[in-house]
Symmetry: C2
Subunit: 155 residues, 2 copies
DNA sequence: AGAAATTAGTTACATATGAAACTATCTCTT
DNA sequence: AAGAGATAGTTTCATATGTAACTAATTTCT
């Protein structure tokens, strides 16, 4: 007599997508609070600011690629930053559809205030891991990213 | 003459909160599509379903704790599942404020259809890692979770 | 026992987000 | 060079989400 087939079960607390999501949200929320409370920035605005600091003159489309934000989100984040006086739009000479985005002096100022805070929060977090473990985590995440999204690089 | 202090920089692509967020979103989205396309469930509804399958008669509050959803999100997910006929509310005899939630026969049916799909998608994903690496990842995530949220257990 | 404070869960409102439509510009084909 | 598509970015609209206010039931305190 064949054994009765047990119904499939799935414990959420050991299910990788769930664990990753909860962990990521806990971390992001903690850091987002920092941007928001101190500087009134959303996480999207912060990301735009970070890549613009890294690559002055970047276009909205390229920001989208580098941050994994869709173009609507980029458009809104950019609009907000401009309104706050942290970002400036310079019409591109060779393509009138795009703008070259650069941080204003004020934008650079608050960017440089935020960076050490963000880095120190990250450091606090990863200090729970040894150097070796940190490297290992990065490596494993890279493998997962590739498996999850082989078509395009996630970062 | 003191060296000019370099402005702080932060490359998003090596910033753990960013990497985690992007990875988690890529994975969740892939799986959420599966729930949604095939069964019309949101990720929140799926989570409620999973913990209810695991613990029949669970209360909304406890669902919130186990899934890291706030009570409004739980309330809405439960309402949706009831409307779809997958979940049933049984008034609790000892506390009239709470209900005991259980999956209906139909709910159990689709739960058992989803579980193998979800597990196989997870398996496909983690198959990029060796057994040892999988265990290591889980361990490192646990440490991070503790560091990120020492006050309460994330999972 | 009875008022005051907690707790379970829902509802209402304001804001965030995503998909699709749209405008303007550019590129490619002929 | 002119029309057909493609691309950059914005706007619109419908839906999702979070916060705060609310209702009802329970517990605590005196």
């Amino acid at each position: 007599m064949p054994e009765k087939s047990h119904p499939a079960t799935l414990r959420l607390s050991t299910f990788l997508p769930f664990r990753l999501s909860v962990l990521s949200n806990a971390i992001s929320q903690r850091i987002a609070e920092l941007y928001d409370r101190e500087f009134g920035l959303s996480i999207w605005q912060w990301r735009v600011m970070a890549v613009t600091a890294d690559t002055p003159g970047i276009s909205a489309t390229e920001i989208g690629q580098r941050t994994q934000m869709d173009k609507v989100a980029v458009s809104r984040a950019v609009a907000g930053l401009i309104e706050m006086g942290y970002l400036e739009r310079r019409p591109s000479t060779d393509d009138a559809r795009r703008s070259n985005l650069v941080l204003t002096r004020a934008g650079i100022g608050i960017y440089e205030l935020i960076v050490p805070l963000a880095l120190s929060e990250e450091a606090r977090l990863v200090s729970a891991l040894s150097e070796r473990e940190q490297a290992e985590l990065a490596r494993l995440m890279g493998k997962l990213a590739k498996a999850a999204s082989p078509e395009r690089d996630l970062w």
